[in-house]
Structure formats: C-alpha cells, structure tokens
Symmetry: C2
Subunit: 416 residues, 2 copies
DNA sequence: AGGGGTTAGGAAAGGGGGTTTACGAAGTCT
DNA sequence: AGACTTCGTAAACCCCCTTTCCTAACCCCT
C-alpha cells in the first residue's frame, strides 16, 4: 500500500490552484485563496511557482475597496501547448490546446477496418500530431506533452496496451511505438479515465470529492472520481461499468456475456432497441451509429413517438444502472458524457434524472445531482491533454539531484 | 472538498502501526518499520505515543544477531476496553473487547417484533452494555468507547439514524438517546461500514489499498475500502449494493423494487430460492432464516443435491453481482463477510470464485482475490468496536489548548 | 575481565508543507 | 501631505517524515 507523503498535498494544491485559474481567468490571489480554502501565503507561493513555469502571467490589476489593487493572473496561453489524442474504434482524433485548454488545432484520421495493426494506428497518430503542430504554427519545444487515450486496458507503468477489445490487441508496447514517432513526453491511458479527468478539471465534477462520470458512446464506462482524485484500482482498470449485468441472461453483448449495460445503452444497443421497435424506421441508418443517434436526437426534438419510445426504453436500463452507481458510491454528481449523451442532450438527462430518482435509495439520491457534461469539445481529447498537463505539473516538485560534495573529500592535502 | 493535511498522515500511520502490533503481538520496532515502510525513527516515535497512551507495553527483549537485543512491544490488554454494539433486526448483540480485540464478554438481547421503538431498542443496548461491563469486571473508566452499528443510513455528524428500513425509523436522534444511558464516548455507524473496517484492521483487507467487503446476511451490502480507507460517500451512505438491479423486473424485493441483488442472495432470497426449488424440503425452516441457512450448510457438506442446487442458483446471481464490483472497482481483494457467508463457508467461496472469474473481465480479475472473512467472531461488533478504537486514537493528535501566557500580562506591577 | 564488533534505539539536524504574523508596497481618502 | 486601507511577500512557527550521528547493550574473543 502506497503511503501518501506531504509532497502529494503540494501537488494536489498546485492542481487545485491551476484548475481554478483556468476556470476563472483572470483572477486574483484573494479569490484563489477563498476558492481553494488555502491560506493567502500558500496560494502566493503556488502562484509564484506557476509564474516561474510560465504557465500563467500577471495581467494587470483590479480595484480593491480602497487599498492596494489586487494583482490579476491569467493562464499564459502562449506558455506552451498540450496535445490530446483520442484513439477510437474508427478514428484517431487529435486536438492541440493552449494552456487555457482552448483548442488551437484539430486533426482527424479515419482508421479503416483493415488497418488496425498497432503500427498502422500509430502511423495515424503520428501524422495527426504532426498536422496539429504544423497547423498551430507552434515550435516543437513549446509542446509540454501528448496525452493518448486508447480503448481497453492500459498499463501506465510499462506503457503497454494490455488489451484493446475492438482490435484484439494484446500486450502491445504502444508507448514504445509512439515514442519512435513522437518526440514529446507521452502519457497513456484510456478514454474512460480521460473523460473523468476532463470533468474533474474543467467540467461538472470540479470541486466534487466524489463523482461518477458515465460515458455513453460506442462503449460504455464509468470514470470514478473518489476523494477528489481519479480512482484507478489496483491494476488501472477500475470503471469498467459497461459489462455490468443488468438483465441476467439478457441481450448478447459484444463481450460475449449476456445482459450487459452496454448492450442496452451503448450506441449499438440503442440502435438495436430502435430496430426491434421499428425495423424500417427512417431514423435507422444501419452501419452508421452516429447518423442513427443524430436522427434519434432530431426525432426527440420533434417529439417523434418512436424516438421517444426508444429513449424511454433505453433510459429504463440506463436509469437502473446509474441508480445502482448512486447507491454504491453516494457521489455528489453523476455526469453524463461522451458523444451519445451529447447528442441526445437535455431530453436524455431529464428522463435519466427521473428514472434514477425512482430506482435509487432516497438518501443517497438526495445528495446527488445528475447533469450533462458541460464540456463543449471532445472530452476524451481534453482529458488526454489534461494527463499531459498533470504530467508537466508533476515534474515541478522534483528535487534536482544533490550536488556531490566532492571538495569535502579532498582531505588528502589538508591545509597546513 | 476537504483537503488533506499533514496530520492526517500521522493519524494514518498511527493506525497502521497499531494495526500491525495487534496483528503480530509481540513485535519489535524493526519489524514494524519493515511492515509499514516507515522509517525506524518514525516508528519509534509512534510507538512512544502508543506507550504513553498505555495502549501497548514493553514486554521484554528478543535476540538480535549479535548486537543489542530488540525491545518487544505488545498490546496492553488491560490498558482499556472497547465495546462493539451490533443492532440488528431481531437482536442486539454486544461484545466487550480488550485492546488486543479479544472478546472479554458478550451479551445478547432479543428485539421482539413489537418492540421496535427507538426507546425500547436503546433500552436493550443500555442493558447489554451494562451487562458486558459487569461481566468483565472492568472499571467504567477503562472503557475507551462504544461503537454502535445500526442498520440503514446514519448521519455521523448529527448522530441521527436517518432511516432504518426494518423499523421504519426516520430521523431518530439515536446518539442523544444513547447518551442518556451510556456514559462512554459513542461512535455511530452502520453494519456495512463496521464490517468493512473490521476487515481493514484485522481481516482480509489488511494492507490492501482497495478492497470490497461483501456482506451477506439478512441484508446485503458492500463496504468499500478505497485508497486504504473507508469510502463513505458524500452523505455517508456509500456501499448500498443490496438494491442493485441484477434482474430487470425480477423478484420483488422488500425495498419495493424488483430484481435487487438482495432479493436473490440475501438470506430470505436464498430461502425463497429453496422454496421455489423444493417447497417441502427438510432443509427449509419457514420463519427461521438462521436455521434454514445452517441446514443448507449441513446439506452442502453432505453433498445434498437440493442444497447444491440452491447454492449454484444463488451464486449465479451473486457471482454476476460480485463480478460487476470487480470490474467497477478493480480491488485487490473481495471479502465475503457476515453470517450467511460464514455459514456456507468454503463451498460458497469456491463457487463464487469460479462464477466471478467467468463473469468479470480478465484483466481486473487477474488482480483480484476472492476470500472468506477470516474474522472468527461477529464482524459487526468487532468493526463497531474498531470505530471506538479509531476514535480513541484520533484524539491523540489533538493539540492541547495553548497555555495562556497570563504572567506576561501582569506587567502592571513590574519588578523594581 | 576487558576491549572490539554489532545491532538497537534515541536525539538532533534537515527538507517538505501549510499557516500565522509582521511589514513594506501601493493605492484611496481627507 | 498624511492617514487609512488592502495586497502580497518574508519570516517565524508548527507538523510531518527521514537521515545521520551517537550512545546503549549485547556478543565474542583475547
């Protein structure tokens, strides 16, 4: 069991202060102290560190009721760039961010079904990363790091993709492969945790001690924020919620089991529900999940009865599943994230809220909010970039190696 | 969000050292340092603190390969007593422990169906507590605290039992009621968390960063140990796993919903499974859960086909449910606890292990063990007593109020 | 019996972290 | 210009753990 050291406190506080600055830029030290609960002195030293790192800059002053004006600090947008890579089943999506986590450049490469060899995927990543750097006209030196999200289980220590369900990858040394093409510091993890970190830093989980980020996409998962930090589990695979059994002996899931949550509320599960309900529905675009979900979303806005029924059926499962998470974790907030949630939007949350309230125990439920992710862009890219940001911030605390006191040893010729 | 302070580190280390001493008493400072990963100096000061508290004593020496002998310390059994109270649906069970957490006295009171008013239950508790103190012949002053476990949701801050499902209690000021009868420091929580803490301190979760303690009794729940500590959630109701939906529209549960885990793997769920399978089975003792489960356990030992079938059916649900927990938390260990698990014993774990391995994802599963609770006595009493122990240790860190420097003020009459 | 050698354990120093207190800096108000 | 206010840094302080140094306590050997 790893014990916590006092340095972890410092790191957490540094994160917290930077989060706050990014969220409310520009801001004053006073405001930061109030928001973080730290003392003014601590905030001042942390702000000093971030200024030294050129991650933030002083941007003027603000009147203070009659006294010395407050100095304002803001994110130093040009102080560096972060790259987030979202490797998914059918595409590689790359975004380049400034330090305010604004998107400066985007690139997307399609991964065709035949091209799923690790080398091919890495090729796409390298090309897209090259592209965003070129687009943004950034000098390479300013890229602080590249976060890479890859589906499945990832071992962060070794940089192996232990298992990627869609491509049947097993123990691929992904980090090594990427290192050959990309010269920036690399941080590897999976989309579940990426979007959870994105919510933790910039989204609906900011400031929450405990939050559950429910990812609704092609795959389904739950990023767990516990005690103000990401819960990884003992082998970095916590959060695999998609294959939770919700209907014993139910629908066959692509994982081979029956009745998984994902088989009902994942994109293809929703498509199946639609097909079962109305096989020739105009909403249905076989072979195209995105189009179908978009059509469904339009249908909901137009109060199309089939679309409403599909939503209701889906939420029947989703609501029960999320209620289980609420009972189990008793979180402050449940965030619905990923592209299916973004597409279905308000109608989805409204239904989910109601269903969860019906299924969950009253007491935990009373303390929990269910919200849509407020992140406007791809949360996985943002989260991946956040891993890079955390990495860059982590290395601040590192003490430089001690000077070897060589001269002390030279006693062979003592002074007379 | 509460920030961690450096004092929390100290508290955690104090816990860790005491845990280790209790587990391997007598032991040396050297051994403690090795086991906890702390430096010798830190261990020495912590041991010093515990000696000052009279929680441990020096009990002699041990040869060290040729040098100064190691001093040995052991729990000071007579240094104090802890009381654990397990309030359950039909009984109040109280145990008095020495500081080595050995049971010195027991008392049990039956709570008859009509007697479920808070005052009546509190009366039983007070009587039983009085009884164990008398039995053990302990002076009152030596009781360091009383931990009380009460089913349902408990607000530790206010000492209210917010909701107790079996008795329809709502917002009962239980702590206040208990305080009127019991003069010792009181610590209130629920059985789920009590048995989780018991495993964390003395059972199978010792030294685990992440563990799930699955409680199989009349009720069903999961105590969550995350990051080496108990996870409580935002309103102290995390771990409500019993009412997780495992069969959509399945069996009616006493909570009013359908298809809850508890409806299948709780004691009465198991009884129902048995009744459905063989309504006139000799194993079945209607109206008596304990007798039925015991009969079932005997049946398993005798390889009775009906008993085996009941076990297999139960594990079908339980295995799926636990597999979900494994996927979600990726814990180091899953502990099966509470009286049903204890009664069914090895046959149960063996089946569960197999079922979980079948249902869970391979990667999280590879890192997880499924074990039976090694705690021989009532884990809820033990856990409740542990809350009292933690409470007693907590107050160590409290700084005594600063001496008011009164003499400094008396400048009115300065010395000539 | 009286030195080495070895190991345990305590005391002091050192490096982190956060907070409180004191004070100079930089404005406004009279 | 001087008084008042408020910001922000510097210094002192407390807590935590570790490293280093030194003494205590025992063995063995001469």
């Amino acid at each position: 069991m790893k014990r916590g050291t006092s340095r972890d406190i410092r790191t957490a506080n540094r994160y917290e202060v930077l989060r706050q600055i990014i969220a409310a830029s520009p801001t004053s030290r006073q405001e930061l102290a109030a928001a973080t609960g730290l003392s003014l002195a601590t905030v001042a030293t942390l702000v000093g560190e971030l200024l030294d790192l050129r991650m933030i800059t002083e941007v003027g002053f603000e009147d203070s009721a009659g006294g010395r004006p407050r100095g304002l600090v803001a994110v130093n947008a040009s102080g560096g760039a972060l790259i987030g890579v979202d490797i998914a089943e059918t595409y590689v999506h790359v975004e380049l961010f400034d330090l305010g986590l604004n998107v400066l450049a985007r690139a997307e490469e399609d991964v065709r079904p035949g091209e799923s060899l690790p080398e091919q995927v890495v090729g796409h990543v390298a090309a897209a990363v090259g592209s965003v750097v070129a687009q943004a006209g950034i000098e390479g030196a300013r890229v602080l790091g590249v976060g890479v999200s890859v589906p499945g289980q990832v071992d962060r220590a070794t940089g192996f993709s232990e298992y990627a369900p869609n491509w049947d990858w097993h123990d691929v040394p992904l980090l090594d492969l990427l290192t050959e093409h990309i010269a920036y510091p690399l941080y590897l993890d999976n989309p579940l945790r990426a979007s959870a970190v994105a919510e933790l830093w910039f989204g609906a989980a900011r400031g929450s001690g405990d939050a559950v980020v429910v990812n609704l996409g092609t795959g389904v998962g739950a990023g767990l924020v516990l005690g103000g930090g990401l819960h990884r589990g003992v082998s970095n695979s916590a959060g695999e919620w998609g294959h939770t059994t919700i209907v014993l002996d139910g629908r066959l899931c692509r994982c081979g089991k029956h009745g998984c949550v994902e088989a009902y509320v994942g994109a293809s599960g929703i498509m199946l529900t639609l097909r079962e309900l109305s096989a020739d529905s105009p909403l249905l675009h076989p072979e195209d999940q995105t189009a179908t979900i978009d059509a469904l979303a339009r249908g909901l806005r137009g109060r199309d009865p089939v679309a409403l029924k599909v939503l209701r059926d889906t939420v029947r499962y989703l609501g029960a599943g999320i209620a289980d998470l609420v009972n189990l974790f008793n979180p402050e907030v449940v965030v619905l994230s990923s592209w299916v949630a973004a597409a279905l939007g308000e109608p989805l949350v409204t239904e989910v809220r109601e269903a969860v309230a019906r299924h969950a125990l009253p007491r935990p439920m009373a303390a929990t909010e269910v919200v849509l992710s407020p992140i406007p862009t791809d949360p996985v890219c943002l989260g991946a970039a956040t891993f890079a940001l955390e990495g860059a911030l982590q290395s601040v605390g590192q003490r430089q190696p001690k000077r070897t006191a060589a001269h002390v040893r030279s006693r062979t010729a003592p002074p007379s």
